[in-house]
Amino acid sequence: MAAGDKQHRPSAGKAFAILASVFALLFGAVVALLAFDQYRVLAAAERLQHEAVPEIIRFQRLARNLDQLNHEGERLFSSPSAADRQQALFLVMLVASHPSILEYPQAAVMARDAENYLVETNQLAARDPSTLAARYPEWLRLSQRMRLLVDDISIHGANLASADLDNMASTMRTARLKLLGALALVGGFIALLIALLRKHLIRPLQRIDHALSSLDVEQPAPQFPDARLAEIHAVEEAAGRLHKAMVSNEAARRELELLANRDGLTGLINRRHFMAGAEAEIRRAQRYGRPIAVALGDLDSFKRLNDTHGHGAGDVVLRTFAGLLADSVRQSDLVCRYGGEEFAFLFPESSVEQAHIQLERFRQRFAEHDIRLPDGLLVRITLSIGLADASHCPLEIALQRADYALYEAKRLGRNRVIVAAEAN
């Protein structure tokens, strides 16, 4: 990987750490907002419990006491006996003296007015009970004022609670929205995370997996789109290097195989490789009933050439022979250096007659070919060939027949092609 790539491509750990940090910050902010709302709800609940509810109870108590006062006032007017009126008056005084009334100025004034009026009424009634009826309308007016005050106080108490409850409800609604927002944020982040994982991790890994699974020296090197994550890019590059190494190894393997199967001097396949290939070709031809022929060839008087002109001259002759063969036989035919100056041939899909024609043509061509030896001398070498049909017998038998035919060709004066059947 180039240094520049490393600089502009973030590592997966760093990228996901940044993502996690951003998420933690956002989520933390939402949690903080929710905590603030919770604090507001708790504060409102505490206010409700310690301020509003005691206040409500205070107002309820005040309203109840004013009602009680009103009730005792009514009793004073409705009581037939002076003793009962006095008892009612005592209760009016008791209630009017209660701190719950005294601490509320409007109620205290009203209670004092009512008490004074009732005391005065009781005194007048003690002398003349008929004054009760005369003074009752005014009491009704006072009583009505007290009832209105009771209503006002009750409503005020209820409003105290509803203000805090409204505040709590509003906060809870806001908190619910924030909670939904938090859920959406978490959902969005997970979706984004999955999308990013898919785009920058899963898909590239799938591509790498596919590329590695189908990595082949016959195929071009895998190509990847530009990866954003350094680790993925490194793996992709490694896959490319792996392909390159595979191609290199394959070339080396082929080179070694060539060295193992070929004759080093002539470049023809060696005897071991020929035998393996020929066995397979003969089995195939015999399975499908196709014609096939084998031949053994031997350079005439090669030993004498070697003895006369040295091994270097012999090598030149052998290489020249192999070079002419390459131009004269079909791609499908097999030719090997069988040993020394002896060569073996296999002609798949060729009858003995066809192979004979081909071999005869080559024998003539070789015999007429001038070979320049290392010392500058031009020589011509002839070739004797024994040919046999291999379509109905094993390779060894066919080669044995071809060998007999070769022997016959030598015996008959060399430089000729003898078909095994003729020899037999």
Partner: protein, 267 residues
């Protein structure tokens, strides 16, 4: 088997005895006839019997709630605070108002109810004083008078505080009934009493000699919340008593006790 049962019974009884604390409870009387009475043998018809009964019932209910075995002592107000302070009593039921001086000496329970103070006197006396003062009689305007108050009460402490300035003669009485007797005998012009006590006494006064005079007062420590007093070091007991008070108020027991003895419920 019988031996095991006997042992278990003894263990249960023993643990129960350990659990139930032994408390000495002082209850305020309103009349000397109620002093040193035994349990529920409250002399009927004595002045302020309703007040003693409601205090007694309340004290027994709280004892039951805190799982305490209580011994009750019926005493004067002046004996309760020193008794609690000195450890002779664990709980003092006397509807004690708060004051800085008291706060130094004893601890307070949560409030039982709220109270105020008001002058009591004969209407004729009130009219004479109104003429003399040139305005209706009130605690703020009262001068040159003999005023009775319960010995050891906030009312007495307040009157003592303004006595010289207002030329008042303060007559401390052992009980509230005695304060009324002093009034009845014209030994005092007025009595300054807690409103609930005042009501309980004058509403039962057959001759109906007395009336409330002037407005009720809650300032100068003469009104606000009334409490049970405890020794300062009895923090656990105070917590237990407060819990019992909360419970009896929440389940309506407190209201029922009050209603049994008073025609109106004023908390």
């Amino acid at each position: 088997m019988n031996r095991i049962r006997a042992l278990a019974l003894i263990a249960a009884l023993f643990s129960g005895l350990l659990q139930a604390a032994e408390l000495k409870v002082a209850i305020l009387v309103q009349d000397t006839a109620q002093l040193s009475m035994q349990g529920d043998l409250l002399p009927s018809g004595t002045p302020g019997a309703d007040l003693v009964a409601v205090t007694d019932e309340l004290a027994r209910e709280i004892c039951r709630r805190i799982n305490a075995s209580c011994a009750f002592f019926y005493v004067r107000l002046a004996d309760i605070l020193p008794g609690v302070e000195g450890g002779r009593f664990d709980l003092g039921f006397g509807n004690f108002l708060r004051s800085p001086e008291r706060e130094k000496r004893v601890a307070y329970s949560d409030p039982l109810f709220r109270s105020s103070s008001r002058l009591i006197g004969k209407p004729a006396t009130a009219r004479i004083f109104a003429t003399r003062l040139g305005q209706p009689v009130s605690l703020a305007s009262l001068r040159d008078a003999r005023v009775a108050a319960l010995d050891g009460s906030q009312q007495q402490a307040f009157l003592d505080g303004i006595a010289d300035e207002r030329a008042l003669t303060v007559l401390a009485t052992a009980t509230t009934a005695e304060a009324l007797n002093v009034l009845r005998r014209d030994g005092a012009d007025f009595a300054l009493l807690p409103i609930r006590t005042g009501y309980a006494l004058i509403s039962r006064d057959k001759a109906q000699h007395f009336a409330f005079v002037g407005p009720a007062v809650t300032t100068h420590g003469l009104g606000d919340t009334a409490h049970i007093v405890l020794a300062k070091q009895q923090a656990a007991l105070r917590r237990a008593v407060n819990k019992a008070i909360r419970e009896i108020k929440a389940d309506g027991t407190f209201q029922r006790i009050m209603h049994r003895h008073f025609p109106v419920f004023l908390d």
